[in-house]
Amino acid sequence: MGTGSLTSQGVWRSASSEAPRSSDVAQVAVPEPFAVPLTDLDIDADLGLAPPSLDLRPRAVSEPSALPLPGLDRHADLGLQPPSPAQRQTPTLAVAVGHTLRTKWFWYAMASSLCWTGWAFTAKLGSKEIPPAAMEFVSAFGFLLVSLGVVRAKTPQASDSRRGQGYALVSGILLALGGICLYGAYRTGYNASMITAVTSLYPMVTVLCAVGFLRERLNRMQVLGLLFAIAAMSILSL
């Protein structure tokens, strides 16, 4: 441990550098080496805390401050009634959902869900007569048909990343492997509902991997939504 000091310019200086005036410094024991501007210090990281998220977007006049200052009542100043706790929560959820409803990705996800509804119905109807392995095999031809349609429509792009293509290839292999494992599990003769219930929880694996590897962040409402999704998938797959 060495000694250092905080100058009036907010800079740490070690004891070995030029001696500062005693009037504008506070003597503190700090590790060497130092001439680090305080603005470069990450106090949250040093303390092992997650950095605070700052919302620097301009706010509407009627929107209450995220960090209210003590002694100030912006609503009273503006002649507005202060919102109740319920009112404070509702706009946040409504605004967030409203924003998502205007995004393309949400509607693509919903359309994807509807396609898999069709997948589930056709699986149920087809598997009355066709055993699972044959079903998977014939179904692959339908999948291939969509692929051929896409190949026909797609113009080759030289800029396509090899790594991206590799990831896509792995995703296809995993997709098929998951299906084969599912049919294999059914063939053991164990309770089909239990097998379906276990495998239907796959989005939770995706969430864990996405948070761990892709650094995706979910807000509290989305975490709560995931819990409801687990409950829904478990209930509906039984």
Binding site: L101, Y108, F143, T199, V207, A210
Partner: protein, 144 residues
């Protein structure tokens, strides 16, 4: 033997499908939806040789075979749209979770299409799915 085999296979299936979304997202971050889909199809077809049925598939009725082929078309379109959702900024964790709620549509349409009856248990599941859908959609504008 079978008692543990089903669990091993189910968990392997769980992790395989769980990994699909992550690889799809990593893929569409780098290539277009169609390219990603074509390569995913190649990977998918690669493993189909493992499930070549022992009985000739043409022994089944045309209606069942049509359903099986349509099943593949629906699956393919589902994957294609999922890739598009991720390409347009959807998070893998949210898009996969939303799309995986499809059983709620199945349960809701079953009375009309399959003449099945809804139980109270199903209604609870539907309620949970609707709540899940609303809460999962609560994406803050800054993070999407």
């Amino acid at each position: 033997m079978n008692a543990s085999l089903w669990l091993v296979l189910a968990i392997l299936g769980l992790f395989s499908w769980g990994g699909v979304g992550v690889f799809q997202k990593m893929s569409v971050d780098r290539v277009g939806v169609r390219t990603a889909f074509v390569w995913a199809s190649a990977g998918f077809m690669l493993l189909q040789t493992l499930v070549i049925p022992s009985v000739a598939t043409l022994n089944y009725s045309p209606k069942s075979l049509f359903c099986a082929a349509l099943n593949g078309v629906c699956n393919g379109l589902g994957i294609l749209l999922l890739l598009a959702a991720m390409r347009h900024g959807g998070k893998a964790s949210i898009v996969e979770s939303l799309a995986a709620l499809y059983p709620v549509f199945v349960v809701m349409l079953s009375p009309a299409l399959l003449r099945e009856r809804l139980s109270g248990f199903h209604l609870v599941g539907i309620g949970c799915a609707v709540l899940a859908c609303i809460l999962l959609s609560a994406e803050s504008p800054a993070s999407s």
